[in-house]
Amino acid sequence: MGYSLALPGFYFALLIGGFSFGAVVSLFFVRSNNANELTSQFVIRLGKNLGFGFSTLASLGGCALSLSVLLAGSPYQLEFGRTLPFGPLSINIDQLAAFFLAVISFLGIAVSIYSFGYTNEFVGRRNIAVFVFLYNVFLLSMALVVMAGNAILFLIVWEVMSVTTYFLIIYEHEDSSSRKAGILYIVMTHIGTALLLVMFITLAGFAHSFSFEAFRHVRTQIPPSVNTWIFLCALVGFGMKAGIVPLHIWLPEAHPAAPSNVSALMSGVMIKMGIYGMVRVFFDFLAPGPEWWGILVLFIAVASAVLGVLYALMEHDLKRLLAFHSIENIGIILMGIGAALLFSSFGSKTLAAVALLAGLYHVLNHAMFKGLLFLGAGSVVHATHTRNIDELGGLAKKLPWTMFFFLIGSAAISALPPLNGFISEWLTFQALLLGFDIPDLAVRLAVPVTVALLALTGALAAACFVKAFGVTFLGLPRSAHAEKAHESSFSMLFAMGILALACVAFGIAPGIMISLISRVTSSFFGESGSALSVLNVGTLTIPRGAGSGVSPLMLLSLLAGLIIAPIVVGFVLAGKIRTRTAMIWAGGLEKVEPRMQYTAAGFSKPIRMIFSNIFRATHEIEISEEMSAFYKPQIRYELKTESIFQKYLYAPVRQTTIAAAKIVRRIQTGHIQSYLAYIFITLILLLLFAR
């Protein structure tokens, strides 16, 4: 224990100091106008690299801090600002905070390394010092969100996080769509924060303090109706940040607008802050509630997962596609959390622990593979300057390493064994299926529906990534952009390599991480919560379910066997393999042209047909009139899918708000006399009635 008492303080200082230093240091290296072009570029580069160096260092500190807390088992606490009007602010890194801190820091290391190379493009074109500043503050604020042990500090850093994200989204501010995305984001996130404020004030009303410790003490004293109110505030307030359906509309706009390294952080960890908040409130501040809480969360989870992946299938913008997949994965994470809520309302702590563990493990895994995919998408955009996958193709030859890492990420997100996505989705399945143990009709209805739709989601995700990967990397280049592409710099590839390695490692040896995460769940559900007995590094078993164990290594060898066996058998039966070199058949034309390839829209057409009720696609075919036998007419094809949420939820709300604002605006006459009269009448009324 000795080491754990002394070192966390050092790691904590490294974390805070590193990010703060990194934020400030680059500002000293803003361009120097008098120097010549070369030296000023050198200075800017130096400042930027220093900034990212510090953020890498700070992230390492964060990793060490979270590991030391997780291993030592005792929280790291700190209190400061005793003279503040709301009472002292405190840092409290318990098991849950340490787990999320680990996710943030780990992705922080990879993305910071990636940023060394990625931001070279901005040098001389943009104010990179501001970017480095915002980047460091963003990471620091996320780390502080999970470490905060006090509602006031939490809300402050939560807002800092929202505001820095806003500035990062509009970093390419000359693009009007970026600005629009920024506005949409900041409006949505502030509605969420308003609800969180209401929630914390309600809690503080019972606890007579803003510290999380006090909230925990009164958890059993809050009446059920207020409990429900707090639950709903937290669900919507944190859900806004997490991007649950139907509050997701900011996400596909904001993620593509930001630079790719920031998108990776936003999608990988920022939306997880919503999940962190939910877990904190649902399992830490609130006593187990009625069963409809869990059913509601499961319903939202299923809606997010299925709709997220369906909308992703229709996207041709690589980063928007990934953003929709974030909604899908938030849905999968929430399935675990919803199931945990449901089980804990029946008092079944073991099952709840398994379900929560599945959710949290997916948090970690999603951060890894979605971070990897966004970084990969960043490399593609960096190389080709387009995000439209219908303009890409054939990148496998130009960017072999990026292709390799992107493939690993795609396989992981499609939940293919032996990668990490498979393990957490398998755990989610297991957790849900364990729900049959509970003799309740609602649970028995909810569980199979959720399981079925989770299976559908997985299949659709795989289809979507076949499309994304295939159209982007395989085939022939569809445009000049794709033809001129070049491989990314070493630091970018190295960062992607780290994450790809993590995807493989967490898939092949899940026991290591799961034994750490089960410390988190057992901090909520007691020792009985460590339900997953990890027999060895390779095999996971769940005590209740008969035969529900899994060994990723065995699965891998099985899969490999399935691939190799036919080849071997074929070789044995047919003898030596003959090869024949010939032209590819091109439908009778001279040669294969890029335009003959399967497009992204064509690939996803069957799914568009099946789910036509959801997509409400309208297409327009326009053939130019100059029809002549010798000239090919121009054909324009336009396909639009409309969002039912935009049309039936957001548009009415927006119109009502504007109409209401117009009515209220009438009191703003512009006459100074009427303003004075308002004051005067108020004064007289107060004198008359409020004595």
Partner: protein, 223 residues
């Protein structure tokens, strides 16, 4: 040399006269007349302060009294007269609330002021002092000052309304505590003095820019 009773009576009479000048402002439509009435009102206020200083031995009020007579009864009216001369607007023509209705409403305000002040005074058992009658009057002056700002549209009338309110505040201060601490008084004087200078310049500029000092026309901020 005088007993407290006589001095109290004097203060009451002066306060009543101040209220009357306020009503005269409401009833008139000439800008110059406003300024002169304000000068008289401030002079009477200065006399009240003088009486308080001499009669109750509060010597620091003497400074406030002299300041009132010099600044409010002399310098400010002269400055405002000059502004009126320059902008060549003599009469208020267009009212938000016409004079007859205004006078009736002001009478109601006096009744309201009395009904507001009475319970406070009875609770404090101060019914034997001059304050008993002066406080309601000073509250009435304050409210009428604000009312002038609402009812009139010329910028100069707005200034006069503001200054009348301030006189009401000073009068109530005198009647309740026989004068606030000197530093507060001087601070308020300085405040008002600077405010009037700035407002005077503003009115002049507004007139130059818009060819009117009717505040109705200055509504661009709304759009």
């Amino acid at each position: 040399m005088f007993d407290t009773q006589t001095i109290s009576l004097g203060i009451e009479i002066l306060a009543a006269t101040i209220l009357v000048t306020t009503f005269l402002i409401v009833s008139s439509r000439s800008l110059m007349f406003y300024v002169r009435l304000f000068a008289i009102q401030s002079f009477l206020l200065g006399l009240v302060a003088l009486l308080v200083a001499v009669g109750f031995g509060e010597t620091h009020i003497l400074i406030a009294a002299i300041l009132t007579i010099v600044v409010k009864a002399t310098v400010i009216p002269i400055a405002l007269s000059k502004v009126i001369d320059k902008i060549k607007v003599r009469k208020e023509i267009d009212f938000t609330i016409n004079i007859t209705t205004s006078l009736l409403l002001c009478a109601l305000l006096v009744i309201l002021a009395d009904s507001v002040a009475r319970p406070i005074l009875e609770a404090q058992r101060m019914s034997d002092l001059a304050v008993f009658k002066v406080l309601p009057m000073s509250i009435a002056v304050m409210m009428i000052g604000l009312f002038i700002m609402i009812a009139r549209k010329q910028a100069v009338s707005q200034i006069i309304g503001l200054l009348t309110m301030e006189n009401g505040v000073f009068l109530s201060g005198l009647s309740i505590t026989y004068g606030m601490p000197l530093i507060v008084e001087v601070g308020i004087f300085f405040d008002i003095f600077v405010a009037v200078l700035i407002l005077g310049v503003f009115v002049f500029r507004i007139n130059q820019t818009f060819d009117t000092i009717n505040v109705d026309t200055i509504r661009r901020l709304r759009h």
